[in-house]
């Protein structure tokens, strides 16, 4: 399904957050949810909500289920025991990365405009 990244903008904030988290590397669901909760200021994300999100993102082609790298498998096994082998890892697709980039540009443009109109004054750091 060849689509342009602009077609799916704007993203829901949570989707963008998830893309940002996955930009660092592949993660399994539980590790993703913990990171998202941390970013969300501790707001709880329950399984139904999370996996419907992941399901939709997969369906849109933003993310995909990936084979975990060996290092991550070893790490995960050390973390939570043998169970970790069965975890499914999610990673960004190229399209997902494009979408995240496009969303970031979109937001940047909005921020720039707000700054020009002196709604916010802080200098970019």
């Amino acid at each position: 399904m060849p689509r342009h990244a602009r077609d799916v903008l704007p993203l829901k904030p949570l989707v963008f957050q998830a893309l940002l988290v996955l930009a660092d590397g592949d993660r399994h669901g539980w590790s993703l949810v913990q990171e998202l909760q941390r970013r969300h200021g501790g707001k709880r994300l329950l399984p139904g909500n999370l996996y419907r999100l992941l399901n939709s993102m997969t369906a849109e082609g933003l993310i995909e289920v990936v084979e975990p790298s060996k290092r991550e498998r070893v790490q995960a096994a050390a973390d939570t025991g043998a169970n970790a082998e069965r975890r499914r890892y999610f990673g960004l697709t190229t399209f997902g990365r494009d979408v995240a980039r496009a969303e970031a540009h979109r937001l940047e443009a909005l921020v720039d405009e707000s700054r020009r109109k002196r709604l916010i004054t802080a200098r970019p750091r």
Partner: protein
């Protein structure tokens, strides 16, 4: 997790196959993180159920979750869904609200009874919820409070000593132990503090105040911050010779210094006893809202200001610590134990670590949950009552509903109307309940024992309001849905039958509800009787004295006109005879002067109107909270038989003033005191006459003690005491403790008077101002630090029991009332339904007595079933209370029989009126209808 897997069935199959295992695993992780916290678990489950159902529905509808703007197909399906839902439930809902309000206005009887009943249940549950919420559910107000522990020094050898029954395992630790704990890796931070009662003597003020010596680490553990100035620094923890500094609590700042902003640098004058004086400079004011684990002080001073002499191995400070992250209590204890024990053997001193939450809330948790459960039961009774009312109401509306359905109204539409009507009732009742809770909560707080943490901050806030509204709506929906469902199934055919005389379809349902209500009321009544009986048994325990009409003024002893240096044994030996005579003379004059001084104030107090006698005593006032003991044994007994005895210095007339009973021998008289000649550091020339309590006689002598001698031996010498009398044992701290050992001696060489006791024939509280004034007039140097009555002191020790008894009695009474109303409405309804039948019976010759019996038989059945249901439930509930009872068995047949009898009588009484009305039915009128 199987249950959660079942929940996931709400998702489409493909979704489940892809994600169910991972979802269950995530839920499992969340679940594990809350293990052992039932409230958090319940909340997780609630949200997880909502989460699974809602997102399962959306997943089935194919609503995507990705884009900010929904794709067209999703929008269509979503708006279709919304439209369908609106058509069913939303359209013209305003009209139904109006109908609901009109129903309440049109039948004010129904409205009043159901709203009041629900308001009573919701109000009491909400008021208790506000207390439970603040005290138990909210996190403690200190940073990382889950890792805070109290470190206690424990004296296992004192475990069986009645004097130490409450304090042997909650003791102090030594200064060096505190220093070593700070270096231990097991603790992030260790704070030390100690309390002292001092006199605040700024010009124009003389008052007893609570002064806490605290370390800088203690302040940081408590998350203390200042609104003015600074906190104590670590350098103030150790140095004794720094200038004294002080912190004010916000309350002291407002009350004693008027909240002035320029307070920093001002000086306060404090003294341990009158005459002496120390000055400290105010360096800061704590921020409002700063709270401590154990009450609140008036002033805080750096712990470094405690004299260096107390920094030896003696236990002098209370310790509080924050455990290192991820460290268990056991590991912390293993680290602390050798440090706290020091050189002592483990059976003489050891350590105990108690999480602060456990220390503060442990004993309060179960009773509060039980009382909350009681409020819940009351709410259930109220709900049952309203359910009964709704059933009755439904019967009268069959005609109306039948007309509606015959005009083409769908069942769903009828259901909606009834549900909205019930919701209107719920909102009105919940608002009334909330108003009741706003009124009840301060009463509850005033009744509650002051020792519950956080009690002062209890208030009705949004959480509590949400609880009230939520409970109200839920109860009415749950209990109103049954009648609404039944009613909505009314067919137009009901119009053809004469609905006025049709007996309703569910008399059995109503009867079952009323029976259940009676059962619940029985549970509450049984618990109330158990707690009431406990209070009664407690207060009828012999105290050993009469607390009624006894006023107490606590004073800081006056400065003596002259000082005497008591020589050591060697010094005394090396004195010349002339020097010895001079010493005895000085001592004699000192004793004489003090005696005259004390006798003077007692004489003035006895001259007050209504006062029958007055006396003075030193330390160890019964129920006074402070304990000071010495070890005694019978003369010639081995050292191993030594026991701690509370030594009380008293004036003659003490036993009469206290209302104690002289069991054997004679009382102390003036002659027993006037023997100062011969007092040396090495001991008296002749034994001091003492009166002992019955417990001393039993435990140290094992029999008749008058004429025998007690021995006290310490590094200062051997002291002998002649037992001249035995008095009743006076409790020291609680009604239930073992009789403590006490010894009374006339004021001789120990010269400090701490409490003046005044017995009046009238109200002790009323005479307190006069007592205070009399003492001040007599000697302005005598500082009255507090005045109170003995009944108040004694009352504080049973505050928890009294709170439980009163509250459960209120619940029991309310449940009884509601159950009576329930029975009444059942009986009244049945009479109304059977009017025609009764009319026919009367026409055929039934006597009024027969008719009454007919009605009563039916309520009797409900009562019997209710009691049969209630008894096992009450048995189970009473088991939960067993730890809180005193001298009452949780299965006491007397209590159960009494509660059942009260309930049965009330229920029968409630059905007498409908029965009487039934017996007056005129057959002519009924048959003509």
């Amino acid at each position: 997790m199987t249950i959660y897997r079942l929940l996931l069935l709400s998702f489409p199959r493909a979704f489940r196959e892809a994600h169910a295992a991972e979802m269950a695993r995530q839920f499992d992780e969340e679940h594990r993180a809350r293990r052992g916290r039932p409230v958090a678990l319940a909340w997780l489950w609630t949200r997880a159920i909502a989460d699974a159902l809602w997102h399962g529905l959306l997943a089935r509808l194919g609503v995507r979750w990705v884009l900010g703007e929904t794709p067209a197909v999703d929008a269509a399906s979503r708006s279709g869904l919304v439209r369908r839902a609106w058509r069913t439930f939303g359209q013209n809902a305003g009209g139904d609200v109006k109908l609901g309000a009109r129903r309440l206005i049109k039948s004010p009887g129904f409205a009043l009874v159901s709203v009041l009943t629900l308001a009573l249940g919701i109000g009491s549950a909400t008021a208790l919820f506000s207390v439970v919420d603040t005290v138990l559910l909210r996190p403690l107000p200190w940073p990382e409070a889950d890792r805070l522990v109290s470190v206690f020094g424990v004296r296992p050898d004192r475990a069986t000593d009645p004097v130490y029954s409450a304090s042997w395992n909650r003791g102090l630790i030594s200064w060096p132990a505190w220093q070593q704990l700070r270096e231990s890796a097991a603790f992030d931070e260790v704070g030390a503090w100690r309390r002292s009662r001092q006199i605040f003597t700024n010009p124009g003020i003389e008052d007893g105040v609570d002064v806490w010596y605290v370390s800088s680490s203690f302040l940081s553990l408590m998350g203390a911050e200042v609104s003015l100035g600074r906190l104590f620094g670590p350098d103030e923890d150790g140095e004794y010779d720094l200038a004294e500094t002080a912190l004010l609590t916000p309350e002291t700042w407002m009350r004693r210094f008027g909240g002035r902003a320029d307070i920093l640098g001002e000086q306060i004058h404090l003294a341990y006893q009158a005459g002496e004086e120390r000055v400290a400079t105010i360096v800061g004011v704590l921020r409002p809202g700063t709270s401590f684990t154990a009450g609140a002080p008036d002033f805080l001073l750096p712990i470094g200001q405690t004299p260096p002499v107390s920094r030896t191995g003696n236990p002098v400070v209370l310790a509080m610590a924050r455990l290192a992250p991820e460290l268990s209590i056991e590991a912390g204890l293993a680290a602390a134990e050798p440090i706290v024990r020091g050189d002592e053997s483990p059976d003489r001193r050891t350590a105990r670590l108690v999480p602060v939450s456990e220390d503060l809330l442990g004993p309060a948790r179960r009773p509060l949950w039980l009382l909350f459960g009681g409020a819940g039961l009351l709410l259930l009774v109220a709900c049952a009552n309203v359910a009964g009312l709704l059933i009755t109401d439904a019967r009268t509306r069959r005609h109306e509903i039948a007309i509606r359905t015959s005009l083409g109204c769908s069942r769903l539409r009828v259901l909606r109307q009834l549900t909205i009507e019930n919701l209107v009732l719920a909102v009105v009742a919940a608002s009334a309940g909330l108003a009741l809770a706003v009124w009840l909560t301060p009463m509850l707080v005033a009744l509650a024992p002051a020792r519950l943490p956080g009690l002062t901050t209890v208030a009705i806030d949004l959480r509590v309001a949400a609880f009230a509204i939520g409970v109200g709506v839920m109860t009415v929906l749950i209990f109103g849905t049954g009648p609404a469902l039944t009613l909505s199934s009314t067919r137009p055919a009901a119009l053809t039958a004469d609905s006025r005389f049709a007996t309703s379809r569910h008399p059995a349902a109503h009867r079952a509800i009323v029976a259940g209500e009676l059962g619940l009321a029985l549970v509450l009544l049984v618990c109330a009787s158990l707690f009431g009986e406990t209070l009664l048994r407690l207060t009828s325990q012999p105290l050993g004295f009469d607390p009624r009409g006894l006023a107490i003024a606590s004073v800081e002893a006056m400065k003596l006109p002259f000082e005497v240096q008591v020589p050591t044994a060697e010094q005394y030996q090396s004195m010349s005879q002339v020097e010895r005579v001079a010493h005895h003379d000085a001592h004699f004059r000192r004793v004489q002067a003090t005696w005259m001084h004390t006798a003077g104030v007692i004489e003035r107090l006895e001259a007050l109107p209504g006062v029958s006698s007055a006396a003075a005593q030193g330390l160890n006032l019964p129920f006074g909270g402070r304990t000071n003991v010495a070890l005694y044994r019978a003369e010639y007994a081995p050292v191993s038989e030594e026991l701690s005895v509370l030594t009380q210095v008293v004036t003659e007339g003490y036993f009469e003033t206290m209302g104690m009973q002289m069991l054997r021998g004679r009382s102390l008289v003036a002659a027993d005191r006037l023997e100062p000649i011969g007092i040396t550091a090495a001991g008296r020339a002749s034994p001091t006459p003492v009166v002992i309590s019955r417990a001393v006689e039993q435990r140290l002598f094992g029999g008749e003690a008058v004429g025998k001698r007690l021995l006290r031996e310490n590094p200062g010498g051997r002291f002998l005491y002649d037992v001249i009398g035995v008095v009743s044992s006076v409790r020291h701290r609680a009604f239930t403790e073992d009789e403590p050992l006490r010894l009374y001696v006339l004021d001789t060489s120990i010269l400090t008077i701490h409490h003046l006791l005044v017995r009046t024939s009238g109200d002790a509280a009323a005479i307190l101002p006069a007592v205070r004034q009399t003492i001040r007039d007599y000697d302005p140097n005598m500082v009255v630090t507090s005045t109170t009555t003995m009944e108040e002191l004694v009352g504080e020790t049973i505050a928890h029991e009294r709170f439980r008894a009163r509250l459960s009695a209120a619940f029991g009474g309310a449940a009884l009332l509601l159950a009576a109303v329930g029975i009444y409405s059942l009986a009244a309804r049945r009479v109304a339904e059977r009017r025609r039948e009764i009319g026919v019976r009367v026409a055929l010759g039934a006597r009024p007595a027969h008719v009454r019996k007919l009605v009563l038989r039916e309520t009797l059945l409900a009562i019997v079933v209710g009691l049969a249901l209630g008894l096992p439930a009450a048995l189970a509930a009473s088991q939960l209370t067993s730890a809180l009872l005193f001298e009452v068995s949780p299965t006491s047949p007397r209590v159960f029989a009494a509660a059942a009898a009260v309930l049965a009588v009330a229920a029968l009484a409630a059905s007498v009126l409908p029965a009487a009305r039934a017996s007056r039915i005129d057959p002519m009128l009924v048959l003509r209808e």
